[in-house]
Amino acid sequence: MRARPLRSAWVLLAAALALVLLALVALGAGSYPITPREVAAIVWSHVTGNVERATADAVVWQIRLPRVGVAMLVGAALASAGAAYQHLFRNPLVAPDTLGVSSGAALGAVLGIFVGAGFIAIEIAAFAGGLAAVAAVMLIAARLRAHDPLVTLILTGIVVASLLGAGISLLKYLADPYNELPAITFWLMGSFASASRTEVASLVPAVAIALVVLLALAWRINLLALTEDEARALGVNTTRLRAIVIAAATLATAASVAVSGIIGWVGLVVPHMARLVVGPEFSRLLPAAALFGATFMLAIDTVSRTVAPIEVPPGILTAVIGTPVFIALLAGARRMF
């Protein structure tokens, strides 16, 4: 059965190459167009340290590179977290925000905007809100000691997210309609427009830690796709493994949502596309999902900032692409809850 691993190695190589080419195009695209060849020369000049201080260099290196980096990191993070969650919940139709991470992050950010906090403080509030929401869901679900821990987790996630949604609505209602309300609305739509080196620096460690943990446990995570009884009878400490996977996926998702706002569909649709190509085995699925996610998000962001005179929020584009893909997925689904 060497056929699949060999083929998936080629798939990963091709996906990595496509991502590099797309990044060269993305770095050149915009209101100040630069050819991919020039982009490559500029990137190379930074590698060799022989930098020419020109406008093109500033545009590529100072303005577009952080944005391209954030889009790739967020795409990789959401798709990896989605793939992990889909294994964990034995369901190809769950997204990384199933346990309330997006709602928690949104409430944190909205609260930050409401009290007039600075930019960095809003991002920190969003990150903390996301982590706190998932922690609350985990604690409540563990206290319930129900017969089926997975269904309990999902239902607790839905309940907590709806309470957090009520909190967001309350703050929107109370917010100043001329300054705060538009800021809240735009944050909730999601955007990469604010991406800078600070965002890259805050994303890299969170996404790296999450990916390293998931990759280290990748083969074992396959066992979570069995029923609770089967996995435990095979000798897996499912409670502990599940908690570790949820922690890693939540870290990556919360860090992403904190810098880019809520961008739906990526964590739901991209893992499915990866599964179609390399199969469900998680040590192959995870790198494929991360690469596909980075490519998908970068393509979306590049289109969203170049297709029209004003930026189209990327969440709108992912929904336009995600909805038909999801319906196709439902039509082909063999088994659902």
Partner: protein
């Protein structure tokens, strides 16, 4: 090798069964019979450590089962679920490899030995041809054999099968039961539950009859599965008809 003494089992305050005592000898097949809700599955889940026992003792080769880690327990006891419902299309080989998890380090992947054991298990059940097929695209009977292969790859001495033929057609039932016979001949100790007295008579050495969570009979199959006992167990009169030398058919006589 497996000793169960005065066991009470259930879910917390809800006691499903009690005073269950039996032991399994090496290379023996014990069939567990009982009506719906008699507690067969709950008993098995308790033996496998999926539910804490409410009272009594469970030991394996003299060691208390409760003191073993999930990993150690999995090396001694393998479980074949009533029906494996796959969430994703893992290949049969990938699914069988998962049986090796108790023998693989936490951060490791299956190595050469693990692949060898998985292929051996597939060969034992003559389903090597299925190795690359997704578990979502094979028949229920093939999937049940794949789950038995997974339990074999686990290399435990005791195999626990929960109604292994419940969802299978007539031909697949016979096939799975024949494989169970062969595994016993290979020296495995087997515990399986069934709703068919015929199956126990043909494929088990002893039978344990469970009625409302208590042991109604525990004896060789011929003695435990008398027409009287079967009638008491299921509440319907039956007749045992001899078929050939050593086989019986159990038919309702009303």
């Amino acid at each position: 090798m497996l000793d169960v003494r005065d066991l009470a089992f259930g879910f917390g305050a809800r006691r499903v069964g009690s005073d269950v005592t039996f032991s399994l000898a090496p290379a023996e097949t014990l069939a567990v019979l009982g009506g719906n809700g008699a507690g067969k599955t709950t008993l098995f889940r308790t033996l496998l450590g999926l539910l804490p026992p409410l009272a009594g003792t469970l030991s394996l080769d003299g060691a208390a089962l409760g003191e073993l880690s999930p990993r150690e327990r999995a090396r001694s006891l393998a479980y074949v679920p009533q029906q494996h419902v796959p969430a994703f299309g893992f290949t049969v080989l990938e699914a069988v490899l998962m049986g090796r998890v108790s023998l693989i380090d936490t951060f490791a992947r299956p190595g050469h030995d693990d692949y060898a054991a998985a292929h051996d298990a597939l060969a034992t059940l003559s389903i090597e041809a299925l190795a690359a097929r997704p578990v979502t695209e094979i028949s229920g009977g093939e999937r049940q054999l794949a789950m038995i292969a997974r339990a074999l790859a686990q290399q435990a001495k005791v195999l626990v099968l929960d109604e292994p033929t419940a969802s299978l057609d007539f031909g697949n039932r016979a096939r799975v039961l024949d494989e169970i016979d062969r595994l016993r001949d290979h020296g495995l100790t087997i515990l399986f539950s069934t709703h068919e007295p015929d199956q126990a008579l043909a494929h088990a050495d002893r039978a344990l009859l469970l009625a409302e969570g208590r042991v109604l009979a525990l004896d060789t199959v011929e003695r435990a599965l008398s027409a009287d006992n079967i009638e008491r167990l299921y509440g319907t009169p039956v007749r045992l008809v001899r078929v050939g030398d050593r086989r019986f058919a159990c038919v309702p006589s009303r």
